[in-house]
């Protein structure tokens, strides 16, 4: 993430200079240099045995593909080795604490994976007759019930594919509801600490975005909000707990102000992990909120997806939710897949029924924790974050007074005059064996460091993390700048040149001849 003053995107001069031992192969012990698939394989090789079939009469209408495609193939052992070697160049939650703020990198239980792979879930088609998928519809129905109960909201749309897709779902329902009362309005208000998907989504719904500043306590400036809340405002989008890791303590006044202006209240539920089982968003006056199943409910992030972003809705928005939906009928559960002319539903957001594979995983997680365990999840997550806040407050500079919720926000004041930046600090954490925290986000503080440990970490891990962070902070203050500038020195690669990558984009492999020609 990048803040408004920008972070460095190219390795500085101080970072150059090899620090690693040279070997004949280029490999370094267990660390293997791995060529691209296209440099390893060739078009004739294959790791799949397929039967030879006599071609029947060709019915492709004379449109057979005749040119070579250029794909590379590998035998099975080569493929396993290639991708296994690649995997070892990744950090992952299975390997250590992954304290990315607002990303909720918690443990991904393997039971979830096993359940999602049951043929009764993994090997069913979205358009099979409903009579043959009653168990799948039951999963959706039960998951919906848990989400509605945990949030205290009466309606749910399961189909959005990720958080940002859920935001779109929520805002479209809001716009449809406003249009139904003959008043679409034109503006969506978004706090300046909001995640970038919030303003991007509002724009996609045809709204003009206005930013609401934070107060000096890291919360929405209620006065500024009241000033902007006019008859042109369709909705206020708020993340709660917010991206500074703080609970918006004026939330009830905010909801009243929003509703008083005839607007609707959207909540970005990215940080629901902090309050699940402790606070029901429905009690806060929220009209729509997406829930990232890949955050709060432990479905794996998979290196950037797939996610799942169901949205819960208030009574006011319930008629407008998208298809498909599961309903109870006389012969069991059935799917409503079409929007009839008399329906208020705003439409359809994806071809099929959403992320079934994620529904199963999330439900396995919910059933495992139960109502009592989920409450404990929030408590432990908040406890862990406050423990980190307490442990780091003396050496780092917390941006706001605590307690925090599930994540602790620091800024770069403690690095002032050291020559070390937030980016350098993050890269030095890599050498210490940690994935860095979220950096340069939220934008409301300088050089932000947002740490979310989650409930998955043991006290021992938290202690080790805190000790390492303290040691790095002291090293920076003691003038050991070089160590930070050349970091990471112990990762599979050293700092990467993002500036050149963007200026002269190389976005695919090309054979050497054509690469030459392209220049």
């Amino acid at each position: 993430m990048m803040n408004r003053q920008g972070r460095p995107t190219a390795p500085g001069e101080a970072t150059a200079g090899a620090t690693t031992a040279m070997t004949f192969t280029g490999h370094r012990g267990l660390e293997h240099e791995e060529p691209l698939l296209f440099e390893l394989g060739d078009p004739g090789r294959s790791g799949v045995d397929l039967p030879v079939m006599a071609s029947a009469s060709n019915r492709l209408g004379g449109l057979e593909r005749t040119q070579a495609i250029g794909l590379a193939g590998l035998s099975e052992p080569e493929a396993v080795r290639h991708f296994t070697r690649l995997s070892r160049k990744n950090y992952a939650i299975d390997m250590g604490i992954f304290p990315l703020g607002s990303c909720t990198m918690k443990h991904n239980p393997r039971l979830n994976e096993k359940m999602a792979r049951l043929p009764g879930f993994a090997d069913i088609h979205p358009l099979q007759p409903e009579s043959t998928v009653q168990g799948a519809l039951q999963v959706m129905d039960v998951l919906g019930h848990w989400l509605r109960t945990l949030t205290g909201m009466p309606a749910v749309a399961l189909s959005p594919k990720a958080g940002a897709h859920g935001e779109l779902c929520g805002l479209m329902a809001i716009r449809a509801a406003l249009e139904a009362r003959g008043d679409a309005r034109s503006v969506v208000l978004v706090p300046e600490s909001a995640h970038g998907t919030n303003p991007a989504t509002a724009a996609l719904c045809g709204y003009q975005v206005k930013s609401i500043p934070a107060n000096d306590r890291g919360r929405v400036d209620l006065g500024a909000l009241r000033e902007e809340l006019g008859p042109d405002v369709a909705a206020f989008m708020l993340t709660n707990p917010n991206t500074c890791g703080l609970f918006e303590d004026a939330i009830l006044e905010i909801a009243d102000a929003v509703h008083g202006a005839g607007a609707l209240f959207y909540c970005d539920g990215a940080n629901f992990n902090a309050i699940v089982g402790k606070v029901r968003p429905g009690d806060l006056g929220i009209d729509a909120m997406h829930i990232n199943l890949h955050k709060t409910f432990s479905t794996p992030h998979g290196g950037g997806g797939p996610g799942s972003g169901p949205v819960v809705f208030s009574e006011a928005l319930a008629p407008y939710i998208p298809v498909p939906n599961v309903v109870h009928g006389p012969d069991g559960l059935r799917l409503v897949e079409q929007v009839n002319e008399t329906d208020a539903s705003f439409g359809r957001l994806t071809a099929f029924h959403g992320q079934m594979g994620m529904y199963v995983r999330a439900l396995a997680y919910m059933l495992s924790h139960g109502a009592d365990g989920l409450r404990r999840v929030a408590e432990d997550a908040v406890l862990a974050a406050n423990y980190v806040l307490a442990g780091l407050s003396e050496e780092l500079t917390p941006s706001f007074e605590g307690p925090c919720m599930h994540e602790a926000l620091f800024d770069d004041r403690f690095l002032k005059g050291t020559g070390v930046t937030t980016l350098d600090f993050a890269k030095a954490m890599i050498d210490e064996g940690f994935h860095p925290m979220t950096m340069y986000f939220p934008l409301v503080v300088q050089g932000a460091m947002l740490i979310e440990p989650t409930e998955s970490e043991s006290k021992r891990t938290l202690d080790e993390f805190i000790a390492a962070m303290v040691s790095l902070a002291r090293a920076a203050k003691s003038g050991d700048v070089e160590r930070f500038k050349r970091a990471p020195a112990l990762a599979p690669v050293r700092r990467l040149d993002e500036t050149t990558a963007a200026r002269r984009p190389v976005l695919r492999w090309l054979p050497e001849e054509s690469e030459e020609a392209a220049r």
């Binding site: 690693t20 019915r59 449109l63 794909l71 088609h125 998907t197 950037g304 996610g307 079934m356 406050n386």
Partner: protein, 448 residues
């Protein structure tokens, strides 16, 4: 609880370090009136064994495709996925990693994304591809928005052979923009004339190949006409294995190609997670939505990969971003990359040929059933048949007789009497000839 490492003693020690007397002290910013005093009204925690029992019970109420002769397609296809694919994607280093924001410790993800982008570009016959979208339908909607940004025109013409759910998604996503979405009449026979709908205001034409009804079409005349009028051609492919057999959209003049990539590496999963492929011309790359991985060098001059061109994206551009997408389908892209690496060029071509041959065999078997008429002259692995009565009840009856036969067009496009007797039928490499014989015989019984 097995997922929570903190003991009571740990919690007490941590509270003491924080200087709080109870955990609810940490929730003191929550208005007291809304802080729940006890758990919500849902069941309590359960052991792994109990949860497994519950979910296995739910799974048992479904009929898996592998248990019966199975011919359902219409945008999601059952193929055989090698065991290696699932092994690789379950490696914790891939499964439990985040979006590669810290490239130095994410080279595994970034390198496979670079390989994935290369495979997608080659397969579609395009120059560049992104690091994936949610699925084919959302990718199609993003393509329409992208065409609008490029052409600064608002009219999108949607083929009557496009999967109706894709058309619905496009319609929904553009509902509150002032785009003008023109849907051509349903094109059962693959003979529609889209050229007549194209004019100087047309931003793009969206056409699926093979179409919903299975027809394989030469899109070159359409591409020429769209380009003549200054618009873009968006080609949708819902069965990506077809690209192993058919002239790729890039060669037919497509400007943007979007595919549902599920067929390679990914199971049916009742509709998701799936994998949106998105490819375009180099000159449009800065208008492309989604994450993009690019090659660069590290401080020692060694090759490495990073997420790039992020000035298009929401985390930098906020309301001016090309798209609001953030999370995509990374792990599904890995499954695709591994499966396609295993297939290789030779394997993909053979797989495509087997699919086509299987479908051709099934066409002949079904055509011989009294009361069945095959609509298609051309097809890849899916085609349309017209029955002598409404298709939906026939398909229900076949399901009762343990054959999952196909998709009634009336489920996708309800309320049109002329379409009620149509059924979409797919056949892939997983269908044995014996399965096809059972299908034909059972259909014959039901229709007689």
């Amino acid at each position: 609880m097995r997922y929570l490492p903190l003991s009571a003693a740990d919690r007490a020690a941590m509270l003491e370090r924080i200087g709080a007397s109870a955990v609810d002290d940490l929730f003191r910013d929550v208005p007291a009136s809304v802080l729940l005093k006890k758990p919500v009204d849902l069941p309590g925690h359960a052991s792994e064994m109990e949860v497994e029992r519950d979910l296995v019970g739910m799974a048992a109420r479904n009929v898996p495709a592998g248990a019966v002769p199975f011919f359902v397609g219409a945008g999601a296809y059952r193929h055989h996925v090698p065991a290696t694919v699932d092994h690789i994607i379950q490696r914790g280093e891939f499964l439990t990693a985040y979006t590669p924001y810290q490239p130095e410790i994410s080279q595994g993800t970034l390198q496979y994304l670079f390989e994935f982008q290369t495979q997608v570009a080659l397969l579609t016959g395009m120059e560049v591809a992104n690091a994936s979208m949610y699925d084919g339908s959302t990718a199609a909607a993003e393509a329409v928005l992208m065409a609008r940004r490029i052409t600064k025109r608002k009219k999108a013409v949607i083929s009557g052979g496009l999967h109706p759910h894709y058309a619905d998604v496009i319609g929904t996503v553009t509902r509150f923009t002032d785009d003008d979405i023109v849907r051509a009449p349903v094109d059962v026979t693959g003979s529609e004339d889209l050229v007549s709908l194209v004019d100087e205001d047309t931003s793009c034409v969206v056409v699926q190949n093979p179409s919903l009804f299975g027809h394989v079409r030469d899109l070159r005349p359409l591409a020429d006409a769209v380009h003549q009028a200054g618009g873009l051609l968006i080609v949708v492919v819902t069965e990506v294995v077809s690209l192993g057999a058919i002239v790729p959209p890039g060669e037919m003049g497509a400007d943007i190609v979007v595919c549902e990539g599920q067929s390679i590496g990914n199971g049916l999963n009742f509709g998701g997670p799936y994998l949106g492929l998105f490819a375009t011309r180099q000159k449009y790359v800065r208008q492309m939505p989604g994450r993009i991985c690019g090659q660069t060098v590290d401080a020692d001059g060694r090759r490495g990969f990073v997420l790039t061109l992020s000035t298009r994206e929401q985390h930098i551009r906020r309301e001016k971003a090309t798209s609001n997408i953030c999370t995509n389908s990374g792990l599904c892209a890995l499954a695709f990359t591994v499966h396609l690496a295993l297939l290789g060029e030779a394997g993909l071509r053979r797989l495509a040929q087997i699919n086509h041959t299987r479908a051709a065999m099934l066409v002949d078997k079904l055509a011989a059933v009294p009361g069945v008429e095959v609509v298609n002259d051309t097809f890849f692995n899916e085609f349309t048949v017209r029955l002598d009565r409404p298709a939906a009840p026939v398909i229900e009856e076949l399901a009762r007789r343990k054959v999952l036969a196909g998709v009634p067009v009336s489920r996708l496009i309800p309320g049109d009497e002329r379409l009620a007797s149509l059924m979409l039928v797919a056949s892939t490499e997983v269908n044995r000839e014996a399965d096809q014989d059972v299908f034909a015989a059972t259909l014959s019984e039901v229709l007689s």
